[in-house]
């Protein structure tokens, strides 16, 4: 694998996303979906963001692309290629430098032929030729471009979705849960495509709930819990009993895998309406002390990774 000197492409620091909702008339409430999240991604690397389904990981992707709904309020700082990522810059980069691989074929216009949809992501050059070339690269038969999304098989749909991102020369590709409930063969193929993309120098952010898929593909793994990242670690730290891991939640995730003894953690993620005031993991943590219940642990660097835990060593 070709590795450039490790330089950061995107740095997200202290990102918070809150939503304002109107409940009955003019009474409104705010929901904090992402809280002080910090993560960075380097050129040519695959970073996996792993967390339970429905924990708001997709919002991170939408925030980076600047396509959150209008009632969302974003706080924090994002720096892309050394420059602050403002809404105007996001609009200029979307689809050109930063591309999204969505979850399912439902993200394609149901009434538009897939070839045309892939072509609409091409901004310079002969779009038809480029689209045919990419379809060929992903072993999509010539006739595929004339199909409508509902006519695609599971595997074809996956390749078309990857093609939409690969056809431009995006430097950052965000794959949002790209392998939901798919046949293992298709999962492996899709993950291989993501690796390929990173080998050509793109940074790939893989957002998934599937730790095995993440471990198979990623260089580094960020563990997402209750709206924030609790640990970032090299994929190689996920081994043995998880003794190299820094955060109790990462360890628990690792130990819950079938090959590691299948020990599930008790309890569930705190609901966003009712977050604990100290460490977000405290209600489920066996190491929790008094400190943990009152003060939020800061993100700190530890042994080549980062973690948010008072007692990590």
């Amino acid at each position: 694998m070709k590795k450039e000197a490790v330089t950061t492409l995107l740095e997200v620091s202290d990102l918070s996303i809150t939503f304002t909702q109107y409940i009955s008339g003019l009474r409104q409430r705010t929901i904090r979906a992402i809280i002080n999240l910090s993560v960075n991604i380097n050129h040519g690397e695959v970073l996996a963001i792993v967390g339970a389904s429905g924990s708001g990981k997709s919002l991170l992707a939408h925030a980076i692309l600047g396509i959150l709904p209008g009632n969302a309020c974003v706080d924090g700082k994002m720096v892309y290629a050394g420059e602050l990522l403002t809404p105007a810059r996001q609009a200029a980069l979307r689809g050109r430098e930063i591309a999204l691989i969505p979850q399912s074929v439902n993200f394609l216009d149901p009434l538009m032929r897939v070839g045309a949809q892939v072509r609409s992501g091409i901004f310079n050059g002969n779009s038809t030729a480029l689209q045919r070339e990419i379809f060929d690269r992903y072993h999509l038969a010539v006739g595929t471009e004339q199909l409508f999304p509902f006519q695609l098989s599971g595997g074809m749909a996956r390749r078309v979705l990857v093609a939409t991102a690969a056809v431009g020369s995006a430097r950052l590709i965000i794959a949002d849960e790209p392998t939901p409930g798919l046949h293992p063969m298709i999962v492996r193929e899709t993950l291989a495509h993501l690796r390929e993309l990173s080998a050509t120098g793109s940074a790939v952010m893989l957002i998934t709930h599937d730790i095995s898929a993440a471990l198979e593909t990623a260089d580094r793994i960020a563990v997402f819990y209750a709206g924030t990242t609790v640990e970032t670690a090299p994929a190689s730290d996920f081994c043995g009993d998880g003794e190299l891991l820094r955060h109790p939640y990462s360890k628990a995730l690792w130990q819950a895998l079938p090959q590691n003894g299948f020990q599930p953690i008790d309890g569930s993620q705190p609901s966003i309406d009712n977050l604990p005031c100290g460490c977000l993991f405290a209600p489920r943590c066996s190491l929790a002390s008094r400190d943990c219940l009152t003060t939020v642990p800061e993100l700190r660097s530890l042994r080549g990774g980062e973690t948010r835990c008072h007692h990590a060593a």
């Binding site: 939408h62 689809g95 591309a99 999204l100 969505p102 439902n106 993200f107 394609l108 609409s120 992501g121």
Partner: protein, 329 residues
């Protein structure tokens, strides 16, 4: 496809039978006396014997099922009978009146379709802003305004008060038919058509807005934006494409409301259309004409619904037989 058409034809036939049986029964139960309708103003000159003779002549002394059977058989032969108040064959009356109504309804239909669509798209694109709220308020107000009242208001304002339009009728009064020009007809058509379309606009706009808002919140629009498409591009590439079908379908399916509205509008503007004929037939007990109009309007509404369904069949690729898109190449 063939099966589909056969099914629709069967459905139409049962619909027509049901509608005619029902209206026949309703007329039987109503206080309308067809003989009186026929005799009209000559009532005082007609003695009881003559009365009975007329009833016998029209077959009105027979029991109900027999009369219905006779009427049904005649219809099957294409004979709708003779209108009692116009003293002309029902089909001829309907044909002539329908043309006038069609001009009225078509103008209103196109007008409300185009303006409603434009307003709906504007509101949907600007969802949540003042433009949107203004359009919604306007539409909701109009949609809850009785057409009859609105028609009177229009008549008072534009015909009586401002004298921009004639007060009623389909052609200028006192001018021989052969001298009536097309512009005369249009001039008389405009105000009723405008009135009829105003409430139509509200419905179309609200529906269009609703559909567009749904589309704009869909996953595929989110992904289109992620691919760098701007708001206008999203509207042109995905918005219009995805709302066109439901909106045109609704437009065709709205024939029944259009027809109902035209009855009221024609009444207020004394516009000589089918709706007005229906009202006259009802009020004056012209049974053959009324039955004819009822059957005909059922056919008309059915045609609109069928057109809507066929559109879906023809346009939506998801309903086309699988694989045809592969075969195209």
């Amino acid at each position: 496809m063939l099966l589909f058409l056969l099914g629709r034809i069967l459905r139409l036939l049962t619909l027509l039978v049901a509608v005619s049986v029902l209206s026949f029964l309703l007329l039987e139960l109503s206080p309308i006396d067809p003989v009186r309708a026929y005799v009209g103003a000559d009532m005082l000159k007609v003695g009881p014997e003559q009365w009975a003779k007329i009833a016998e002549y029209w077959g009105l002394d027979q029991p109900l099922p027999e009369r219905f059977a006779r009427w049904g058989m005649a219809i099957l032969r294409g004979d709708f009978g003779v209108s009692m108040i116009f003293r002309r064959p029902v089909l001829a009356v309907i044909g002539e009146r329908f043309l006038a109504s069609l001009a009225l309804m078509l103008t209103a239909w196109v007008f409300s379709g185009v303006f409603g669509f434009a307003l709906g798209v504007l509101a949907g694109m600007k969802q949540g802003t003042w433009t949107d709220r203004l359009i919604k308020w306007y539409c909701l107000t109009l949609a809850s305004t009785p057409l009859f009242w609105l028609a009177l208001l229009m008549l008072l304002t534009f015909a009586v008060w401002l004298s921009w339009f004639p007060i009623g009728l389909g052609v200028p009064a006192g001018v021989p038919t052969y001298e009536v020009t097309l512009s005369d007809r249009l001039y008389h058509l405009l105000l009723p058509a405008l009135t009829l379309s105003i409430t139509g606009v509200a419905g179309v706009a609200l529906h269009t807005r609703q559909k567009l808002v749904e589309v704009l919140q869909s996953d595929y629009v989110l992904f289109a934006r992620a691919r760098g498409e701007s708001g206008l591009q999203v509207l042109l590439r995905h918005g219009l494409r995805n709302i066109a079908l439901p909106v045109t379908t609704l437009q065709f399916a709205s024939f029944s409301e259009l027809f109902g509205g035209s009855i009221l509008a024609e009444q207020v503007f004394s516009y000589p259309g089918l709706g007005q004929a229906a009202v006259q037939a009802g009020l004056r007990g012209d049974v053959p004409l009324l039955l004819g109009v009822v059957a005909f309007s059922a056919l008309f509404v059915f045609a609109g619904n069928l057109a809507a369904e066929l559109l879906y069949w023809l346009i939506d690729p998801r309903l086309r037989p699988k694989g045809d898109a592969c075969e195209q190449r």
